[in-house]
Every structure is written in C-alpha cells, then in structure tokens.
C-alpha cells in the first residue's frame, strides 16, 4: 500500500461535481480524485467490479466524499455497505449534502460517517468548508492509508 491519498467523490450532479472539484483545486488539494456518479458505481469502484473490474483492490480510496441523494443506491446505503465491511470500515467517509435535516445527520452518524458537511449555497462558505476538511483529513489526521503529507504546496 502506498502512502498516496486517493479521494473518491460520489456525486451525481455534474454541476456539483465541477464546483466541488473547483473548490478542492482552489484549496490546493492535488491528490488524485476519482468521481463516480451514483451509489452503484461507488460500490463497483470499491469492490473492483463491473466498470471497475480491472482496478486493483490494493488501492482503496483514502477518503470518501459522498452525497446522500443519489440515483439507484443512496448515499446512506453506500455508507452502510462501507462501514459494515472490514476492508473499508476504517476509510474516513465524509457526507457532503445539501440537507441539514436532523434526520439525515442522525442517520449518517448512526451508520458511522466520520464527518457531515452541509453544502452551503454560498460558494465562498463552501470553499471554507472544503479548506477545513482538506486541512484536517489530509494533513492533521493520521490514518492507516495516508503515511506522508499529501498536500502539495
């Protein structure tokens, strides 16, 4: 296992994908970011099957950003599948959702997410959140997958 960060972004809305990537890049996050468009694809990616059958299972993502409202398999189901699987259990999962509903937050934490961020409408606020996330999860936090600093200056 190499010490490079690999971010998996699970987001169906292309606009949101673009804005999230833009925010990550503007906060100087240079780690490879894999984008999948629904819950099914996310699970395919994780379990190296379907479209991702050729992917090496030795390279799991080191951080997962997941939206809750996704076609086919929902974000909560993806979280559940990951957190109840020994291989993916310790990968930090961060919810990025438009919802600030107490119900959604409570359910996400019940399933074991590591962080929950409500996407603000204001892009500047969103960037602040992304900056804080990157700083904590990619720099401050130590995880079994990220052994060395990942953020390039």
């Amino acid at each position: 296992m190499t010490g490079t960060a690999r971010i998996l972004l699970v987001e169906d809305d292309p606009q949101d994908v673009e804005l999230t990537l833009r925010a990550l890049r503007s906060e100087n996050v240079r780690s490879p970011i894999e984008v999948v468009r629904d819950g099914e694809e996310a699970l395919d990616y994780l379990f190296c099957r379907g479209l991702y059958a050729a992917r090496s299972p030795d390279q799991p993502p080191t951080l997962v950003l997941v939206d809750l409202k996704l076609p086919k398999i929902s974000g909560l189901q993806v979280i559940d599948a990951m957190k109840s699987n020994a291989a993916f259990k310790s990968i930090p999962v961060i919810v990025l959702s438009s919802s600030g509903e107490p119900r959604d937050i409570a359910e996400s934490y019940r399933l074991g997410v590591n962080s929950y961020v409500q996407k603000p409408v204001d892009i500047m606020e969103f960037r602040k959140s992304i900056r804080a996330l990157a700083q904590y999860w990619l720099e401050v936090n130590r995880s079994p997958f990220a052994q060395k600093p990942l953020k390039l200056q």
Binding site: D13, Q15, D16, P120, D122
Partner: protein, 486 residues
C-alpha cells in the same frame, strides 16, 4: 333506618306474618277467655246466691225461735261447698246470730251486718266474693245471711285459660312460621333474585343478565318484567353506543392516517425544498462566482455588477429557503415542556442579540418575568425573533429603548416586548404575522418576513396568543400569552 336494613325481605315477611297472626290470635283468645271468665263469674254469683237463699230459708225457723244452734247446724251444711270460706247469720238488728267458717276459727266474719229487706248484694274483692242477703218471713226482714267465698275456682280457671291461650298462641305462631317460610318462597324468592340480578348489573356492568321470570301475574312479576325490559333497552343502547364509539374510533383512525399522509407529503415537500431547490441555487451562485473569478479580465464593470446582483439574489433566496424550512420545522417539532425562568432566558437572548449589532446604543429594561411552562428551544427562538425585531426597528434611535415585562390584562398574564422604534400603521396589523409579509421596504429594514410568522407559530403551539400595538414613529409593542385563556 339503620335498625331495619340488616333484615332481608324474607325475614321481614316472616316477622310480619307471625306478628299479624299472633296479634289476631291473641285478640281472639283474649276475647274468648274474657267472655268465658265473665260467664263463670256470673255462675259463681248465682251459685252463691242460691246457697244464701237455701241457708236463709232454712234459718227462718231458727231465727224466729232464737235457736242459734239450729242456725249453726244449717250453716255447717255449707261444708259441702269447698269454696265457701265462711258464712254468718245476723239478726234483724244486725247482730251475729250464727257463724260458720271453714277453718273453724270464725276469722274474717264482721260482727255486724244489716241488709235492707228483700235485697241481695254481692261484692268482688281481689280474692273473694262476698254475698249478703236479707232473710224475710212474711214480708218482714228477720235477718241477714252473709257468705264469703274464695275465688279459687275462678283463679284456677283463669290460670288454665292463660295456659291454653299461651299454648295455642305458641302452636299457631310455630305453624305461622312454618307456613310463612313455605309461602314466602313464592313471594320473597323472586324479589331476592331480582335484587341479585340488579347487584350483578350494577357491579359488573353486565347488561346481558336477566332476572328469572316467576310465571305469576302479581306486581313482582310486573316489576321483574319491567326490569328485564329496562335491561334490554340499556343493552341495546350500549350496543349502539359501542358501535358509535367504534365508528368514531375508525373515523379518527382514518383521519389520523390521512393527516399522517398529508404530513409525510409536507415533509417530503420541505425535504425537496431543502435539497432540490437549493442545488440549482448553489450552482447559480457557484458559477456566477466562477465567472467573476475566472473571467474578470474579459467582463466589463457593468457585467461584473450584474454578476454581483445574481450572487446577492441567490444569497437572499437561500435565506428565504432557510427561514421557510425553520418555520416548517417549528411546526413539525415535538414539544418538550419544561419550566423556564423567563427572565434569565430574556437576558441571555438580549445579550446575544446585542452582540450581533455592535456599535448600537441600546437600553434594555428587563422587568420581573414569570417562570413559564414551555419548550425551551422554541421559546428561545421566539424571544430571539422578537428581540432582534425590536433591535432592527429601533436602528434609527439613539438610544434605542427596549422594555420586556409582564402585566395583567383581564386576569390574564401577558408578556410584552416594547420598543421606541419606527412602529407601524395599525391598519396593517393583520398582515404582521403572515409568512413573507413585510410592513417595511427591504432597503429600509432587512428581513424575509418569516420571523414573526415563526413567533406566532411557537406561541400558538404553547396555546397562547400574540398581538401587537403600534403607532408610526412611536414604537411597537408585541404582547403574548403562554397558556390557554382560562
């Protein structure tokens, strides 16, 4: 009547039967015995009179010839009559002529006795009958005979009668008792069964039981039939009531299900407002910002100005959605009532509101406030809205004066928030608490028009009322209660 209650109707009937028959029998026996005894007394009198007559007649010669021995001899014939205690013959002058006494001592014989010619008189004492009779000869009174008889015979008879009456009475009472216990079954048992049925009905609320019908046509049978009919009616009514109750419950259930469905719909609506409406807004904002950042060089100032307005509008739209969601959440939220120290809470909220607008000169006058029962989170939100409103609409004042206090209004405890701000025209007071209703232009005062609607919803959820009094440029007062009107 506590003395009567412990006796059952069965006992009462027995007592009644025995008393009635006993009294009747006693009266009859007493009348009979009275008659018999009176008759016997007369017989005694007559016998004594006859004896006196015989003695008198037999003594005439003795009296005429002054031969007391012969008279004594005559008197001694009375020995044959055991009831005669003593007898005496007197001369016409009333002097004792001859005496006889059963015990031979001559006791109890008075020394003198005179009786008018041709008369006889008798006298009953408690234990004696005394008869005196004139002795006449050829129309002349020549002496008196006096016979004293005891009432042994009479008393024996009296005793015997009493014994017979007593025995008859006892025997008849026994017979009456036995007979009445046979007959009372026919009378008392249906009543007792009726009473037992009534007890079961009242104790177990069981209306399906019926008192057993006797088959007679007496008043008790009428009573039992009427009672059973009453039970029938109650049972019918009960069934109808239960059916109505079930129907009501079913309809409540239906309504609840409908309400729940509507609620779910509303919830999914607010959920999609939160997510689906916000997403495009976020995109508009994000790309407008991207345009401003990435294409600043190619856009002229006018274009950049428009981009700023797009960004401002999206922020405002976001604010509206947020407030609306907050309002919806207030409506949906479950209430957790707790006692709230209103004064402490108002002071905390006032501090928070004041910190949000540094540089303002605000004088807070927070009077005594009660401890109220309410949901602390919701009450805090309501107070926050009211106080920040007061701060907002006093922005042209220096100093701004905000009073919070309580007063009695028609017996009701009213809490008020009064400011010296710009006020409003009471003509529009009815629009005050409507969602998105605003009484001021946005360029004068910021706001979405959801705050007071939220406050009203919170107050209503606490069964209270809220209203306002104001005058243009003379400040506004918001008044509310936190409990239902008594």
């Amino acid at each position: 009547m506590p003395g009567i209650r412990p006796y059952s109707i069965r006992q009462k009937l027995t007592w009644m039967n025995m008393l009635v028959s006993g009294a009747a029998l006693l009266l009859a026996c007493m009348a009979l015995a009275g008659y018999e005894l009176a008759d016997f007394r007369q017989t005694l009198e007559r016998r004594l009179s006859t004896q006196a007559q015989i003695v008198g007649t037999s003594s005439v010669t003795a009296l005429l010839f002054n031969d007391p021995a012969a008279a004594r001899n005559t008197l001694s014939a009375l020995r044959a009559a055991p009831n005669v205690m003593s007898a005496a013959i007197y001369t016409a002058a009333g002097v004792v002529f001859a005496v006889y006494s059963r015990d031979g001592r001559g006791g109890g014989v008075p020394g003198q006795a005179v009786t008018p010619a041709g008369t006889e008189e008798h006298r009953f004492t408690s234990d004696q009958l005394i008869l005196t009779r004139a002795i006449g000869f050829q129309g002349k009174n020549i002496g008196t005979v006096r016979i004293q008889s005891d009432l042994h015979e009479f008393n024996d008879r009296l005793l015997r009668y009493t014994g017979i009456v007593g025995m008859v009475l006892a025997a008849s009472l026994l017979a009456a008792f036995l007979l009445s216990s046979v007959f009372q079954k026919a009378t008392a048992r249906p009543i007792m069964q009726l009473a037992e049925t009534a007890r079961v009905v009242s104790r177990e609320k069981k209306y399906s039981v019926r008192a057993p019908v006797t088959g007679n046509a007496d008043e008790i049978a009428v009573l039992i039939t009427a009672f059973n009919e009453m039970l029938e009616q109650i049972q019918e009514r009960d069934t109808a009531l239960q059916a109505a109750h079930n129907e009501l419950e079913a309809s409540v259930e239906r309504r609840t299900a409908q309400l729940e469905a509507v609620n779910r719909e509303l919830e999914s609506f607010t959920y999609s407002v939160a997510h689906d409406l916000r997403a495009p807004l976020r995109h508009i904002q994000g790309f407008a910002e991207a345009l401003r950042e990435d294409c600043a060089n190619t856009l002229d100032p006018t274009a950049l100005g428009y981009v700023s307005r797009v960004v401002d509008s999206t922020r405002r739209m976001d604010q509206l959605i947020n407030d609306l969601l907050g309002l919806a959440q207030v409506g949906r939220q479950e209430m957790h009532f707790r006692p709230i120290e209103l004064k402490n809470l108002v002071e905390d909220v006032a501090r928070e509101v004041a910190e949000e607008c540094p540089g303002r000169n605000i004088q807070w006058h927070i009077g005594e406030l009660p401890v109220v029962d309410g949901d602390p989170g919701l009450i805090q939100l309501a107070l926050y809205n009211l106080l920040s409103n007061a701060v907002k609409y006093t922005s042209p004042r220096d100093p701004a004066i905000i009073d919070v206090g309580t007063k009695r209004d028609d017996g009701e405890r009213v809490i008020f928030v009064r400011d010296n701000g710009v006020g409003f025209n009471m003509k529009y007071a009815h629009k005050l608490f409507g969602v998105f209703e605003r009484l001021h232009r946005r360029e004068d005062f910021e706001g979405t028009g959801v705050g007071l609607a939220t406050v009203q919803r919170i107050i209503h959820k606490h069964s209270g009322r809220i209203w306002a009094e104001a005058e243009i440029d003379r400040g506004a007062t918001f008044l509310f209660t936190l409990e239902p009107r008594a």
